[in-house]
Amino acid sequence: MSKVPIHFTLNGSEMSEFVEGGATLLSALRDKIGDLSPKGGCHQGTCGACSVIIDGELRLSCLTLAETCNGVDIKTTSGLAKNGVLHPLQRAFADAFATQCGFCTPGMMMASKVLLDHNPNPTREEVVEAISGNICRCTGYEPIIQAVLIAVRANTVNVA
């Protein structure tokens, strides 16, 4: 299959790449660009480990064709910390034991980031809804829900 040129922004940096027709964004990010933070857990859109943010919306990179990503803005977990300073979500996940094996964590980060970007003061139910497309097999979810709510409170304090 012929290769397709695409240009996009990844965590604020301009990227240009030739991708195979039919290749997923997940494989383009991991195998071509070398951003290994999105994980391939199922390659069929059910586990959420590959979640990234495209133009402000949560997307599954394993079901997104790379060739459709021309001109978009992509954010991944590897770009969440700024100049070595952790995002409040990262701080909260680390402090509140919301990670165990860590495989779902980058996807959980993306799902909760999109939630907080759209809704800075979510309820517990809204947090549950926001991470409902992301499977975690270690924690039982409760520490993750608590970590997002801790990050919400940290954000509120920062704003005030």
């Binding site: 290994l36 933070s37 977990t77 680390a94």
Partner: protein
């Protein structure tokens, strides 16, 4: 929650700096920044992809294997079959003297479960490997299969695995692991009530978010570096050494970060064939289960059947417990003979019962091989035992928690395995659980202690 240390005061020092203190996880910052390196988080030039041709039948004779079309498929580099594997029949626990070797790395002659690996296809891309695998033609003669413990143990049942006549594991103790303590028949005669119940469970898949896999790189010094997510590094290294007849110093295993295991990654499945493939091609090889393979092919928790017969007195004392436990190993042993044995070590549960009889069988069927999973051998046993305890309490009209206080083992009690109980703490745990769950019991139970009798 309050930490009660008084019970173990004579065993514990109070000058510990780490135990009992909250400490951050050493890997948390890697996880939240997406920089933790899992085995697949590396880009290796020239990587070949391995796809497995698997049996579509539960039980069948392999009449012929034709790879001539597959090998011509564009991108295919090599096809690997059973004849390429130096020591093709293995069993994981041979390292701790539990035999016989009963499972092929790649099937030859017969397949014994649906999904059994037969032919490995190596290609330049995952897609080419997948397409070529579909071009491997295998002729089968389908054989009758057994799918349950009951069918497997019937006289004249189809033989699942030639290494296990009668479709059960032959322990040095005979057809099962046995516990014999006191006289259960006499116990049942004395009992006010006898209750026999059967409990069954289905196989359970661990479903870790990261699927089983490894990436192997042949090094210039004739060693092989294997990046793997195994939970059992040295089991895997030593079994690979046996299967490939390759000295251990040729094998460099790199692991440590596992994207969820729960016992699902302790079997030695992907590494030997991937290392062999790297050796045969001289190229790096990736063998990573698809989600479908992880769910359908990887080992499960065993299905179990537990039959419990108890004799109980009106005052709550259990005077006899007879258990027959059956572990469905599937077609091959893996860790199941050990799991069934753990059950024998666990019955009759944490209770002091004067007459105990337990028979624990490891049974072979034409199902996906089962193996380790979180407390295997004990978890389902405990489910059955504790449901049985609730039923017994109801039968004699006693509160289920008080019923457990009456039977709880305490320090100094002789267990069915003829060991004196030490450090039980069960009474204390139940007292705390009673308070935490707001499930009050009679005052005399709060006055109890695991330190049973004064000398």
């Amino acid at each position: 929650m309050e930490l009660r240390k008084s019970y173990f005061a004579d065993e514990r020092k109070e000058d510990l700096h780490e135990v009992g203190q909250p400490r951050p996880r050493s890997d948390a910052l890697g996880h939240v920044t997406g920089s933790t390196t899992f085995f697949a988080d590396r880009n290796i030039p020239g990587l070949l992809h391995l796809k497995m041709v698997r049996s579509p039948h539960h039980h069948a004779r392999i009449l012929s294997v034709d790879t001539s079309e597959a090998v011509k498929h564009p991108g295919v580099v090599r096809i690997v079959t059973a004849t390429d594997v130096p020591h093709n029949i293995y069993t994981i626990l041979t390292l701790i003297q539990i035999g016989p070797e009963d499972e092929p790395v790649l099937a030859t002659g017969k397949v014994r479960w649906k999904g059994e690996a037969i032919v490995a296809v190596l290609a330049e891309t995952e897609r080419a490997a997948q397409e070529a695998a579909a071009k491997v033609h295998i002729d089968y003669e389908v054989l009758p299969a057994v799918f349950s413990i009951e069918e497997a143990l019937k006289p004249g049942a189809p033989l699942v695995n030639e290494y296990h006549p009668g479709n059960y594991y032959h322990y040095d103790s005979g057809e099962c692991r046995k516990v014999r303590y006191g006289d259960v028949a006499e116990g049942f005669r004395q009992a006010d009530h006898v209750l026999e119940q059967t409990y069954s469970s289905s196989p359970i898949e661990h479903a870790a978010t990261e699927t089983t896999g490894c990436i192997v790189v042949p090094e210039r010094n004739e060693r092989f570096t294997c990046y793997t997510n195994t939970q059992a590094m040295f089991f895997t290294l030593d079994n690979t050494s046996i299967i490939l007849q390759m000295p251990g110093h040729k094998l460099h295993f790199v692991g440590g970060t596992v994207g969820g295991g729960f016992g699902g990654k302790v079997d030695v499945i992907v590494e030997p064939i991937a290392i062999l493939s790297a050796k045969l091609t001289g190229r790096p090889v990736s063998f990573i289960y698809s989600r479908h393979e992880e769910m359908q092919v990887s080992s499960t928790r065993a299905a179990e059947k537990v039959v419990i017969k108890d004799g109980v007195m009106k005052d709550g004392r259990i005077v006899a417990r007879q258990v027959s436990c059956y572990t469905d190993a599937g077609a091959y042993s893996r860790h199941s003979p050990y799991g069934a044995q753990k059950g024998a070590g666990h019955f009759p549960g944490p209770y002091t019962i004067p007459n105990v009889w337990a028979d624990c069988y490891c049974v072979y069927t034409n199902r996906t091989p089962s193996s380790a999973m979180r407390g295997f051998g004990v978890t389902i046993a405990d489910f059955a035992l504790e449901v049985q305890m609730d039923k017994l309490a109801r039968l004699i009209g006693m509160d289920p928690l008080e019923f457990r206080f009456v039977n709880a083992y305490r320090d100094g009690d002789i267990k069915a395995h003829r060991q004196a109980t030490e450090g039980a703490a069960l009474i204390e745990v139940m007292q705390e659980a009673s308070r935490a769950a707001n499930w009050p019991v009679a005052d005399k139970f709060y006055a109890m202690s695991s330190y049973k009798k004064e000398p």
